[in-house]
Amino acid sequence: MQTKGFPHWRDQRITAVLLLPLFILFDVYSAFLVILVVALSYHMYLGISNILEDYVHNQVTKKFCLVLLRVLAIILLKDLCLFIL
């Protein structure tokens, strides 16, 4: 099983740094709002997958929940993009 620890950690920090000015300056350009939505949903997916990996101990349930979470993140991204456009 390939466990990708470092890209998870790195992407969490990259999206966090990207999100810091975007919450303040999201209405300056319309492109900032789109980048905010994409970075926010990816940051939410990474954070919640941390929580699921920590607190769900059954291996089958954990993998299933992580897959469902990824689907939820994609659906959330689509809905937020439809809302802001």
Partner: protein
Amino acid sequence: MAVRIKHRQLSPHITIYQPQLASTLSVLHRTSGILLVASVVLFTIFVKALNYYSSSYAIYSFGYFISDYLFLGLALCIGLILSYHMANGVRHLIWDFAVVGFAIKEVFLSHKIVLAFALVLFLRLIGLAVFG
């Protein structure tokens, strides 16, 4: 492998340990993250539901009323949670990428800086909401 582990009784641990400021702020960082994700998901569901049922005048006028008053209170609460999560997130980023702030005196100072920074962000949000 289906071995049923008999879970025995644990002696009390977090129920009797005095909550420290460091542990409370760390737990609050994770809890605020969960609450923010829940609020984004609920907001998306709410907007989609309003859009789906917008042909009914009762629901349309309810959505109009909600977006004037109740949204402001909810947005300020979410803004408070977001302010704390951003402030503590900045401290995590400083811990990850710089070499300062690991000594215990510096950690105690960083607690106060994080709480002050969260308060500043929240006051700025209130100012934006009140004064446009």
